[in-house]
Amino acid sequence: MMRIFVSKDMASVALGADSLAEAFASAGCEVVRTGSRGLFAIEPLAEVETDEGRIAYGPVGPNDVSAVLDGSHPARIGRIEDHPFFSGQQRFTFARCGVTDPLSLSDYAAHGGWKGLETALGLSPQAVVDAVKASGLRGRGGAGFPTGIKWQTVLDAAADEKFIICNADEGDSGTFADRMLIEGDPFCLIEGMAIASHAVGASHGYIYIRSEYPSAIAAMREAIARSATKIAPFTLEVRVGAGTYVCGEETALLESIEGKRGEVRAKPPLPAVEGLFGRPTVINNVLSLAAVPFILAEGAQAYAEVGFGRSRGTMPVQIAGNVKNGGLYEIGFGVTLGELVNQIGGGTASGRPVRAVQVGGPLGAYFPPSMFHLPFDYEAFAEAGGLIGHAGITVFDDTVDMAHMARFAMEFCAVESCGKCTPCRIGSTRGTELIDRIVAKAPRAAGTLETLPQMRNARTAARSHEEEIDLLRDLCDTMKHGSLCALGGFTPYPVLSALDHFPEDFGSGHALTEAAE
């Protein structure tokens, strides 16, 4: 009987993987549902188990079953590992994703699963923390804070109870690595959290998954149930978000798990000192925790030797938007933005030239092709006035209107603002109104109120286009330095990068070329 591997990842299902699987099943094959390999251009994908390993065919549909089974189908790719999109990758964290049955404990163990945990349990908590420090692992959620130092703080804190929290709120547009890993290799995340619990002495852990990821929620709950004895006495629990981007901010996430409004907390205290229910708490992104089993199993050095500058190890980059080869590309830091977009990504799906790329989700900066030389590295992107964030890259072709994208950045902030701090609560709404006036080239005339004589000091002359743009810059300055968290604080990145790199879309046109008025 032929064994066929078909992904049940949410993206694969959206592209028709379920009907493909049914077709193979009714053709008498044994179908194993796996996570996604991570290249959506070739999905729905079917891999046929043969003596020379798995032979992949994609994209294929239900009526291609016989051609696939007899090997004649033109979409034959051969072994996925040899495909150019995969051969260049360094899959430390995503090694099993797309290969194993996500909920099979034996499959997981057969592919190096639990080795990291066993190694860790043989070490003292401090030794485990030292290994994570030595690996150079930094927060993959976006902050880039050294994971080892965070764990050290929690280990050192004395408390009757400590918690491990996995931030799986992944709200950035252009990112899906957390979803793919949870759906494709949930035990890897569980193993990482178990190691963390041993390292800092935590008794209970939560995985906060956004409500927009129903299959990830189901997969993780099932995986927790199946692996409970394996990680005892450490216990895990899934908590589901409720449609707010801001709960991806670590303290808003804590408020949410505590059953409160997701308002951002002031710091200090740091969550590592006083986090969930006031106890010391490790909060790490899915990818940070999922990288830990490799570090303990293969050793910190194996992880640290890969990378660029102070960004050590691999980053599962997500290439998205208007791109030909959209998908997950795990690679050591240092690869350039251009390589990711053009060589690996294959340029735009529309075939039109790439005009802009947003890196790091809705709070990330827009980069024109002139900056594609930038190496993928926390410090390099920071110096270039942007950020890596959760390593989502969204490609736009030349039909994009950057003023509209800047407007969307303010609108997104207004929709998702928790409403606690003034620069973001009011600033995002005023910013949206302001960009509308700039885009419409309709600088504000004095309002009816301002023209009344009682408003003695109010200016009655209309404002100019330049004045409105200067006000936008001032507003961005207030939001950037005044906001309580990154939502209001980073919204200026996309706005100002659009304004600075694509002034022509804002009707000022003086930066790059002296475009006609």
Binding site: R179, T244, S256, E258, G259
Partner: protein, 154 residues
């Protein structure tokens, strides 16, 4: 069974565990079973979790997932985030809204379908995407709009 009794039975079943910070899980549970959280549920929830009605109301009103009125028979959540915009999301939104006769963020008057925004479904390389009730749909084009409209009118 009256609605209050239904809510109380869900609460009784759910709140026995000494789960800490159990408000969001309980609200999800009630909405999953009854489709929305009636204002009358707030005092029952507050009493069960030993918190004030104000706290429950503050949480329900903060999180957009929680509805306080019965939902439309079908709910389409169309992604408006950057990656789907890069693949023509804005045009698809206009066409779908026009085709269904309902503005984004609203339910149609006949209660048959609601069109709601969502900011990213994690399908960012195969947009424009949407959740049609609980089914993900990718690479939405005019043809797909036709299929979706047919589905939700049934």
């Amino acid at each position: 069974m009256t609605q209050t009794a239904q809510i109380q039975s869900i609460i009784d079943r759910f709140v026995h565990s000494d789960q800490r910070g159990a408000l969001l899980p309980l609200l999800h549970e009630i909405q999953e079973e009854l489709g929305f959280i009636a204002p009358g549920a707030v005092p029952l929830i507050a009493d069960a979790l030993l918190i004030s009605r104000a706290e429950v109301h503050g949480v329900i009103s903060f999180y957009p997932d929680f509805r306080t009125e019965p939902p439309a028979r079908h709910v389409i959540k169309l992604c408006r985030a950057e990656s789907c915009q890069a693949r023509g999301g804005a045009a698809i939104e206009a066409e779908l809204s026009h085709h269904l006769g309902v503005a984004m963020g609203h339910a149609r008057k006949d209660g048959q379908v609601a069109l709601e925004p969502v900011y990213c479904l994690g399908l960012c390389a195969i947009g424009p995407n949407a959740m049609v009730d609980d089914r993900p749909v990718a690479r939405i084009d005019s043809a797909a709009i036709g299929r979706i409209a047919g589905e939700v009118e049934a």
